[in-house]
Each structure stands twice: as C-alpha cells, then as structure tokens.
Subunit: 303 residues, 4 copies
Amino acid sequence: MGVMRLGYVHARVTDLAAARSHYGDTLGMRLVHEESDRLYYKAWDEYDHHSVVLESGGVGLVKLGYKCQSPDDIAEFENRIQRFGCITERMSKGENLAVGDGLRVVLPSDHVLELYADIEHVGTETGTLNPDPFPRHLVGVGVPRIDHALITCEEPEVLERFFAECLDFHASERVVTQLDDGELLGSWMFCTNTPHDIAFIKGPNGKLHHFAYYLTDWNEILRAGDLFAMDDVSVDVGPTRHGITRGQTIYFFDPSGNRNEVFSGGYITYPDFPTITWTADQLAKGIFYVSRELNDRFTTVLT
Amino acid sequence: MGVMRLGYVHARVTDLAAARSHYGDTLGMRLVHEESDRLYYKAWDEYDHHSVVLESGGVGLVKLGYKCQSPDDIAEFENRIQRFGCITERMSKGENLAVGDGLRVVLPSDHVLELYADIEHVGTETGTLNPDPFPRHLVGVGVPRIDHALITCEEPEVLERFFAECLDFHASERVVTQLDDGELLGSWMFCTNTPHDIAFIKGPNGKLHHFAYYLTDWNEILRAGDLFAMDDVSVDVGPTRHGITRGQTIYFFDPSGNRNEVFSGGYITYPDFPTITWTADQLAKGIFYVSRELNDRFTTVLT
Amino acid sequence: MGVMRLGYVHARVTDLAAARSHYGDTLGMRLVHEESDRLYYKAWDEYDHHSVVLESGGVGLVKLGYKCQSPDDIAEFENRIQRFGCITERMSKGENLAVGDGLRVVLPSDHVLELYADIEHVGTETGTLNPDPFPRHLVGVGVPRIDHALITCEEPEVLERFFAECLDFHASERVVTQLDDGELLGSWMFCTNTPHDIAFIKGPNGKLHHFAYYLTDWNEILRAGDLFAMDDVSVDVGPTRHGITRGQTIYFFDPSGNRNEVFSGGYITYPDFPTITWTADQLAKGIFYVSRELNDRFTTVLT
Amino acid sequence: MGVMRLGYVHARVTDLAAARSHYGDTLGMRLVHEESDRLYYKAWDEYDHHSVVLESGGVGLVKLGYKCQSPDDIAEFENRIQRFGCITERMSKGENLAVGDGLRVVLPSDHVLELYADIEHVGTETGTLNPDPFPRHLVGVGVPRIDHALITCEEPEVLERFFAECLDFHASERVVTQLDDGELLGSWMFCTNTPHDIAFIKGPNGKLHHFAYYLTDWNEILRAGDLFAMDDVSVDVGPTRHGITRGQTIYFFDPSGNRNEVFSGGYITYPDFPTITWTADQLAKGIFYVSRELNDRFTTVLT
C-alpha cells in the first residue's frame, strides 16, 4: 500500500492559447475539460481523468498530486506528516475537478503536495478488451503518460527525509559535494519500481525545475526532438543520456517557460536497492552523460 | 511492503557443460558459484548473489524464489497461505546457498515457491559510485536481469486467487474463453510496476513454460536473436511483439530444452490498474501480435 | 551513368478497392492518379510521378520499370540486350502515364522490364527548401520509397548474366547448391550502393516473389508490423533479420495475394565488392537469420 | 564507372600512443600495419587494406584518397583536372603502403586528393561465405566503415564545380546566404547513393572540419556516446539529428584535436536528385536540427 504515482501536475502558464498548442498539438495530450482560466489534459495511456492542469497567470508549479492506494494510506500519512512538522489540511471531493477527498500538504520546501486515492476513471485510448499496443492516430509526440517532477529546495536533506519517513519513498541516487560528510545537493526518489517519482536539487524553495513524460525508447526521444524543431519548441538540452537514472532525455520549454522533459529508459528499482552516490565533481556526467557539460540555462532557469 | 520481485529461478538441465555455454557465453550471465551438480549465475545489473540456479539431471523447474521486503512479510504470508490451504514449511538460512531464512510453499499447481527476505549482496557490475550506464565488456547478449516466469497449471483461477489473496499480486491481463462467464485460460500478475512478475496458463500442473530476461529495447532483442543464430541456439518464436503486455520478445530454448525469453518494453502497471481482458478468439494476437499465429511448439513444449 | 534504380512496379490486383485501402491507408502511399482500371501511387520521399501501378484483374507482375540516367544509356543497353538475344521494343512517351520514351524488354525469364530516363517530376512531401526530415502527418506505415523486387526464374544464371552484361549490375550475394561447381539458386544484384535493386531465385518464369519498401530502421519495421495487425494485413514472416543483405524485414501480402516487404538496414555495396556466397545448406539462415527456418508459404506462394 | 568512395583519410596526430587508444580501443578499428611514425587502421566491414592513416606530428589532413573503379577512370579524370587548371602528378604503386598507381591532385582549396583504383584486398571480418551480420567480439564502438569527410575552403563554388565537372559528383544539399543570387556557403556532394561522400563549407583553405564513420542506426549513435563518456573522449556536439542529410550524429575529437563524427541514417541519393537548398537563416537548423543552435567550437575549431 502507499503512494502509487505522480498523478497530476498543476502548473501556471502565461498564455492558455499557446499552452493549448504545446500540450495538445505538439505533445499530443487530450484536452478532457476546459474552464475560462484552466485546461485539463490526460495522456493516451493514462486511466485517470487528467494528469496535467494548466492555469492561466504566471508560471511555475501550483501543486503536485500523488495518488495513493487507499484512504487508509492517507490517514496514516497525515499522522506521519504532522509529526514531521508540516502543515496539512484535508481537501474535499470537488475542490479539484474529478478528484476525491484527500490531504493537502505544504512541504518543507514550500511546494504544495496533494494526496488522494480517488479520481474519476476515464480509461486509456486503447481500452481493456483485446487492446492494440497503441492508438492508431496519435497527434504530435503522442506522450503516453507523465512520469516524474523535479523541484528545487533549500534543504534537500530535509525533503529527502520527508519523503522517506512520511511517504515511504526510497532514494535511488544522490548527489553529494564529496564522499565523506558531503552535503546533499540532490536526491532522486521512488515509490514505484522506476528510478524516480520525484527528485529535488538544491535551489530556491517552491520552484519547479521540470516535469517529465515517459516515452517508449530512444527512437521516440529523437522523434520528439524532430517534432519540437518542426513546431519551434524551445529545446534546453538533448537528446542525450542521463548518468543518473541511465535514462534518455530531451529537456524543453513550454511557451510560458516551464521546463518539460521527455524521458525513456532507466533501470528498475526495488526497496532493497542500494542508493547510488554521485560526487559533485562528476555531476555534469551524472546529468548529461555524453557531453559531461552543464549549460547555465539548465542550472538557473526555474519557474 | 510485500513481495519485491522474482529473485531466482532454480531449474534442471540435462547437461551442465552445455548449460554453462548457454547461460554464460551466450546470455552473458556471470558464474558466481559452482558445485559438482549445480551452477549459480547472476546477471550484471542484479545486486543479489544469484538469480539462476542450474541443477544437473532432467529438465524443468525445481522452484522459484521471490524476494520479500522483510521477515514480517513472510510471517504474514505464511498465515495467509496456510489459511488458503497450501502446504508450507520454514526454510533455514543455508538450505539455499547464500539465501537466508524463509518459507517454502507448494502451490495449488504443485510448483514450489520460496519466499525469503535475505540473500547475500554481491552488487552490480557498474557499482554504486558515479556508475556508467553499462559495463564496458559484456559477453554475448549481456542480459541485465531476470524478469518473470510463466508456468502452467490445471486451474488458473485458483492460482490467480492464491497470488492475489496470499501475496497481494494483481492481474494485469487475463485470457478467458469468452466475455460472459468465460473460463480463465491464463493470467499475468504483478507485484512490481511491470506487466508481470509471474504468469500462468492452463496446462499440466508443475510445468514451466519459460522464464525471461529483461532487455533494454527492441534493438537489443534483435541483437540477442543475431547472437542466438551465431551460437546455434534453438529459437521458438520471434522477434515479435506481444499483444499481452505490449512487450517485445524472442522465445528460445536452452540446450536442455527449457524455454527462455528475452523481453523488452511493456507498459507500467499500478495496483489500481484495471485488468485487461483477452478473449480466446484473439489469443493468437494477444501472444504474437504481428503474425497472429501460434505455433504448436509454443503451446505444447513444456519442461 | 547507367541504371539508377527501380522506378516502378506495375502489378495486377483482384480488387482495386481493397488495394486502395492497403497501399493507401495501411502503407500510406499517396494516390497520384486513378483510372477506371488502375491506380498510381507514389511514396512520400520519391520525386517521380509514381512508383507503384495497380491494375485491376488477376495478380502478379505486369512489368518493372528501371530509371536510367540518360537516353544514351538506353541506346547502349538496347544494343547489348539485342546482342544478348532478348526481344526489345521501343516504347513512346505516353504509353505509360507520365513516363517518357524508353525501351521494353522481355527478359530471359519472361518478365517485362522497361527502361526509361524521363518521368514527370512531382517532388517529395518535404520539398527542397530547408526541408524537415519527414512530413508531419503521414498515414499508416508511411513508407518513404520502394526499394527492390525479387522475381523467380527457371535459369538464375542466365538472368544474372543478363543483368551483369547488359545493364552493369553486380551480384552482392549468391546462393549455390554447393561450393564447387554448384548450381546457382539465387542472386541479389545491385546498380546502386544498396545490397539489391533486383533479386531472383530459382522458380517458375514470369513470377513475382515480392517487391519491397525501404524503412528507416528496425523500430519502423516493428511499427509496420503493429499496423499490419491493426489493419488485419496477412503477414508471411517477420519481423526478423536477413542473413543475405543483413537487412531487417517483414514479408506480408496485399489483399490480392501479392507479397510485399518492408525492409531496413543492409550494408553498403560498391562495384568492387566481392560477391558473398551462401551454400544451400545455410539457405534458411541466409533468408531468416534468427529462426533459421523457411516456411512453405515463403518458398511456394508466388504471383 | 568513376569514383566509388572515400577510401582513406590520412591525418596527422600529435601523439601516436593516444591515437592508438582512440582509434583502436574506443572506435574499435583494427591496426593492420604500423611504422615508427604512422599507424594504418581498417574498420571491420571494409575490404581494403586500410581506411585511416595516422602520421605523427601536428594535426589536420595530409590527404584524402578516393577509390575509382578503373585506371581508365583515373586517366579520364586526369585530363579533366588538368583542363580545370589543377596541379596533378602521377603516383606509383608503393608510394602509399598497399596502394597501387594513381593520381595526386592539389585541389583549388589546397587539400591533397589521391585517386587510385587498386589497393591490397584484406577482407572484412565476417568474410564472404555464409557470413554473420557482424563479428562476434568487436571492441568499443566497433565502427564498420568510414563514410565521408568535410573540409573547409575559401571558395566553395569553385570546389563544388571541381567535384562536379572533374569527378562527376552531384550536390545533394547546398547552403546559400539567400535564395536569389546568394553566395554558396557549403555544399554536400555524393558519388555514391549516400547524401555525401565529401562536403565543404566556407573557411580557410586546406583545413579539415571532420571525417566520419558510419553506424547502423540511432541506437548505435547513443552507444558510441556512452563509450565516449567512459573513455573520456571529448565530445563536440550530439547525439542529435542533422537537418542536412537527415542523418544522426555525434561530433567528437581525437586526442590530437581532429574532429571525428559517427553518423547514421541519411536518405538515399541518385544522380537525378534535385539539390536541396538551405538558406543561411536556417543554417543552425540544417546542422543541428533539434536544438537549432550552433556552438562556437563547431564553427571555429578546424585542424
């Protein structure tokens, strides 16, 4: 039991029309609901009502929603989180469109996290009866699902302890300034069998570095890059390999400047998996394995 | 908490020398220990002491080992399994080389299942400090890890109920004779976020259909097939796509006739994932999506 | 100078409506012209007016067109072909829609071959000014171009000599019954730098084994196979590797029973390339490298 | 008849031992001959004696060798080249190790070009009898063959005219400052059916931008990048897509600073292929399609 996955990313965008073109036409998400000031999107291989909410006005993260297996999990997590010293509030069915009762938490990093066990079931585009491996007529990249988010915080070791102690996450990889008594610069944590369901690196509290979509493989990563060029999407870095997670990646920006990622590959993780350590002198290799270079934009542009 | 993964497959082989060539040179597993009548292998991306044990004499499955997160899980599972009506016995550290205390179960299908929470930690070949994404000089296919096993049984619905009720597995996909009141012909079940950690199809009790290795992608699948041709490995079917799991596959035989699989891809699963249903009239498409044909060998050769 | 490529395949189909669905919707060729009894298709990365002509009534090959660099080539080839003893006739602009003057030849194998240097230029779908690597909205497989044809003949050694002596083709690979004084069973010949622009194997005169489309890589081959399953296209063999040419392949049938292939990879050839020899005992490996098995259908179904 | 391919690249390196590690261990070429001041390498899928010669002392290009189909081609080319106004000299068998008689030309760009029709035949590592698609135990990247070179020159239009008029090359793509009466900034030319056997961009005479190895596909490109990271090879740009040629690429440097490329994909070309035009405002997209950015290093570092 416990947290199952990153369920939704709720972000701000400066321009809903431009966002619609990016998330709908280029990434190929399906618009499931719209209001005057916000858009709700789901990806084709997701069952739940939505996975991305875009709200007009500004940039950056409004909140992240993580879906839990049962309401009992949430009650247990509420206790642990309060003992940890974080502010929580109960949220009611309907506060978020299509989402049931849950718990809203202000993380030690000032990010808002929502835990819920119930959201309207819409279904994937291939269905559950003798399904094809993919729908016939996807648009653009045709992202199948969201995967993880990377946020920044002033005290990564506190946030890592929060996710481990309160939510049973495990660290797959950590970056430290040095091996002995080094300071924690970043942590990649999982509650599934993937290398990361959330990650954080040292930086200002409350900021979003990126949120990511999963793609099938390295060929799909290049095809995404090709479509980004055709649609004039601003690309940050990639395609390339991550040392951390072993995944393959392109970082790019939505029209409002929020960083997105398409990610494929990555090893399988288990709770008994020993945490991998990267030392700061190898950080560039850990992030961009092939070039072993970090650009300024990658480390400084946050929303 | 609970079952983490398929930890080891213990199988019989008629010829240890031929098995050594197959599992060592062609598949590229590392021989970690040998005795006069058995060989212990691990794959390069596995941390634990071994994942395949080959015992001289005959063919087929001796037992499957699934690693649990803690001894408490095992105690809980023991209660549930006894209530389910299966025979269990406690096994002690050392009964299996490098494996700690645990529980041995005779499944309703007559297969032997071992549950354990402790096995000697050896480590992967890339290590946990600033690791490369793969070791430099792999041999043959260079399989990174084992993935799942498919066994046959007379009563799939009983075995499905066993894994669900006793071990908290979920069914990702099921094959039924027909939609309404159809008989269950097969079930693919997971305890991780993969499409299957164990699967079973209707057939004689106690038999092995295949056990599988995970490969990174479709290109690695072809490369494996090329190496099988070079090394004169008997190929059953593939490379092709599975409808069930969406994975990519080659089935092949070890020199003793035990069926192996190399498998890549497959979607992510979660406990709230609705089970996909295949009807028997679409079974061939479910198994081999591209050809939509089952060969006799695939459905009849078991060990 | 000389023959540049396979320019068009003109085949018979029993049902134009079914053919339209197959070549247009599944393969994604563009219908450039239609008449009451025939359809003209081009692929997206081809410049010339058409590459496939489908004529109503029966099955099999009407003729193959190979484009030459200049009318002078054709005059020279005419001399050589007449000396070789084959029947030729001049064909005039307009006898074939959009095709200029040329030469029609009845091969020693009774197939009809047309040589021409001029055909209406239509252009690719990405154009010649700052082009994208592929068009944004392809349909189905989205084949970029035709690649080669394989025909059967009673005397492969005569046909090989014809293509070498009359048209300056070279044999990349040959299959012989045995190494010393073996009989020629098949030959793969090129006029480009690909492994084959035409191939022939021993069989009845005048028959078509298949004609092939080129795809970018092994991933595109699987995607084609997936679409064949979705569109209920009859698949003969594949996806797999060829030993001969090293290419990757799926063989499949159009609704009339003409065999098509999607093909990727294959090495580069040059005129000084030594011919590779396959002995008949290794033929199955040469054709289907992974399985090393030939099915009856593959060797007996011709149109 | 005519020029068949880029046969060899003869370059200077500052350090033979470091070069041996790079070209032998990382790229996986085979050392076929060595002398006190030079190393001769061939790639596994090449038949000829060598394709890369590394000479101690300095950096940059000593000369390029292009293999022609026959001595008659060379005699014809000699006439044309002399009429074009370039200096030529006959070279004798043995002047270059394993290479026969030929012609040495000083190009209008001051680069030295050698034309020859005869070089010692060594054979590929898979042979010509029932060959496997690749050798079993390649080292490092395991490059199969060299592909093309890109050089700089003050007057691209003169060099383009030289290769077209004297050697029957065709331009697949050209970069011009603007569409009407624009100046030629670069040209990609072919004598095979590939997008380029030589290319040149505006810059100083006599300089090398890079020479390239062909890899099978985009997955091999990433694997090469991974190995470059493991072996601490300096990477310039990539992995990414080229707009020009549609190929996939990583640019990197040998230990002496000569730029190499691994290249895959690219469309097929024919002599009747219309030349694609890129305008300077789209040059960055033409070179690096995904990022649409040129780094300074890429445009300024030459050897």
